[in-house]
């Protein structure tokens, strides 16, 4: 969803491009303003109860209050803890296993059928089962995140290792690289674009899964729980405020964290074209 893609796809003179970009930004701002105004007008018209359709200043005020008294931060902290813990587990299992699958035929033969059978099951389908097994609370949320994040990680690591150009392997072998050097100097950098894509997808899946898991396996804290809990009291302003926070965190991770990981590794190594093609 990059505006850069839109501007680079039409390579015109730089001045023209700049003015086009300005027009785009202007129109984008205008759209958002119009949508906000329409929403505000609907909310104020009284056609819907204000509890269901709060005005924007009210949402902003709620968000501000929740941020100031620290509850929102605590909810966000719990959610982040669950996501990162689950994601770390998924990486710790999925990455080595995926690499092994790519390198060893027997591991691939064993794990691939299982992975392709489990993958189409949405992670949320396991929530009731896990609730029965582990009780309500953190364990369920973390395990659901783990399940959701595992398969993108595993499959991308696997296809990344398999996609390493065999010519590079032979060249490195001919230049006398031993197994260890081959692994660290050729296979890992070669597979890294896929691995990072996998990490990205894993985070996206994990982020979706954690919200759902928190709603269903309600503990006392967490952004998903706040939203769901607010429904009981018809607090649409709290819901919208939490939605903003959820969107922001997702956006920050997607763009800033993974973007900078990508720049620091694959882009610097000049690997990114092979990933995108």
């Amino acid at each position: 969803m990059s505006t850069t893609a839109a501007t680079t796809s039409a390579p015109t003179a730089s001045v023209q491009a700049a003015s086009a970009r300005a027009t785009s930004a202007y129109r984008a701002g205008l759209t958002l303003l119009v949508v906000a105004a329409v929403y505000e007008a609907t909310a104020r018209s009284g056609a819907f109860p204000p509890a269901l359709l709060p005005t924007l200043p009210k949402v902003a005020a709620t968000l501000w209050d929740l941020l100031l008294d620290g509850t929102m931060l605590e909810h966000a902290g719990y959610t982040m803890y669950r996501v990162l813990f689950g994601l770390a587990l998924a990486v710790a299992v999925g990455l080595p296993l995926g690499i092994l699958m790519g390198r060893m035929r027997s591991v691939e033969n064993f794990c691939l059928p299982l992975a392709s059978a489990l993958m189409p099951i949405p992670s949320l389908a396991w929530v009731p089962v896990f609730i029965l097994w582990f009780g309500l609370g953190n364990t369920v949320a973390i395990l659901i995140v783990f399940y959701a994040a595992l398969f993108p990680m595993l499959l991308n690591a696997w296809s990344g290792v398999r996609a390493v150009n065999p010519l590079w392997l032979r060249a490195a072998g001919a230049m006398g690289a031993d197994e260890r050097a081959l692994f660290w100097k050729v296979i890992i950098p070669g597979a890294s674009p896929f691995i990072i894509t996998g990490l990205r997808q894993a985070f996206l899946r994990a982020w979706i899964a954690v919200v759902g898991a928190e709603m269903l396996a309600a503990s006392d804290w967490g952004l998903g729980w706040v939203i769901f809990d607010a429904k009981e009291f018809l607090n649409a302003d709290v819901m919208l405020a939490s939605l903003v926070v959820i969107g922001l965190i997702g956006f920050v991770f997607e763009r800033l964290v993974f973007g900078s990981i990508e720049r620091a590794t694959v882009m610097r190594w000049g690997m990114v074209r092979t990933a995108k093609s």
Partner: protein, 277 residues
């Protein structure tokens, strides 16, 4: 968004067959079945060891018996049918709206400027987070479920359609125009086939997304029938066998959607036209 990242799943599902070209059919079947056999034996072993109560960790024959019982009594088919109808309705909504918006965004600069900010803001928020809000606005039940599934799965469709239209080679458009194609013919004969591989990828991602979300939404929206509701409701009575039978059916449907619906569609269109191998 990572929604645009190359989909791995398709290759994964196709790989075992292609990798085993030299082997006999029976060996492939045996090799694929072997891991499942190991897992099944482990499961049975754990179930009969009696560490966990049989109610919570039922042996596989209990699950199979429950599956047969529910199928014979018509309960399971009813759940499946309701879920599939919701999936079809939500996905149809998303496909129509998503392709239309995506095409408009790809063809018209103005539409792109208007929709892109809205779509970029909406997309990073996990779909399930909207559930309580939709529940407040549209009440419990079918309407909420279908609308939410449609809303959530529209995003990957929009992005991919938009990218697809942008990826149509400029030279094809210009040569068609030079040969005197009017805008209708240009659209039907150049833009539509040219962007179709991307559109199909978007539809596939959208359907996968819809399926993942639907199961969770059914649990939250308290619909009377549906697989998600069936497994979530079974929690109350500690019916782990019902849950596992439900999870099994969910997995089978997910696999069938991926394998039979979209691979077929791709065979008939883009592969036949030589757009993709």
């Amino acid at each position: 968004m990572a929604d645009l990242a190359p989909t791995v799943s398709r290759h994964v599902l196709a790989a075992p067959a292609s990798a085993a070209a030299g082997e006999s059919r029976w060996r492939v079947v045996a090799r694929t079945a072997f891991p499942f056999l190991v897992v099944a034996v482990l499961w049975e072993f754990t179930a009969y060891l009696g560490i966990f109560p049989r109610k919570l960790f039922p042996p596989l024959e209990d699950v199979a018996a429950t599956f047969v019982r529910l199928t014979a009594s018509g309960i399971l088919p009813h759940h499946v049918l309701d879920t599939l109808i919701r999936l079809a309705a939500g996905f149809a909504l998303a496909a129509v709206a998503g392709v239309a918006i995506g095409l408009a965004m790809g063809r018209s600069r103005r539409a792109e400027d208007i929709f892109l900010p809205l779509v970029s803001i909406g997309a990073p928020i996990p779909g399930l987070a909207y559930t309580p809000l939709f529940l407040l606005w549209f009440g419990l039940g079918n309407k909420t479920t279908v609308l939410l599934v449609g809303f959530v799965s529209a995003f990957p469709i929009i992005f991919n359609t938009w990218t697809g239209v942008k990826a149509v080679k400029e030279i094809w458009v210009r040569s068609a125009q030079a040969m005197g194609a009017d805008s209708r013919r240009l659209f039907h004969h150049v833009i539509l086939p040219g962007s179709l591989p991307y559109v199909l990828t978007g539809l596939r991602l959208g359907l996968a997304q819809a399926w993942r979300i639907l199961v969770g939404v059914e649990m939250l929206a308290a619909v009377p029938w549906g697989l998600g509701w069936m497994i979530f409701g079974a929690r109350e009575f500690l019916n782990t066998d019902v849950m596992l039978a439900g999870v099994f059916v969910i997995g089978v449907i997910g696999l069938a959607l991926e394998k039979f619906v979209f691979q077929r569609l791709e065979q008939y269109t883009v592969v036949r036209w030589g757009m993709m191998t």
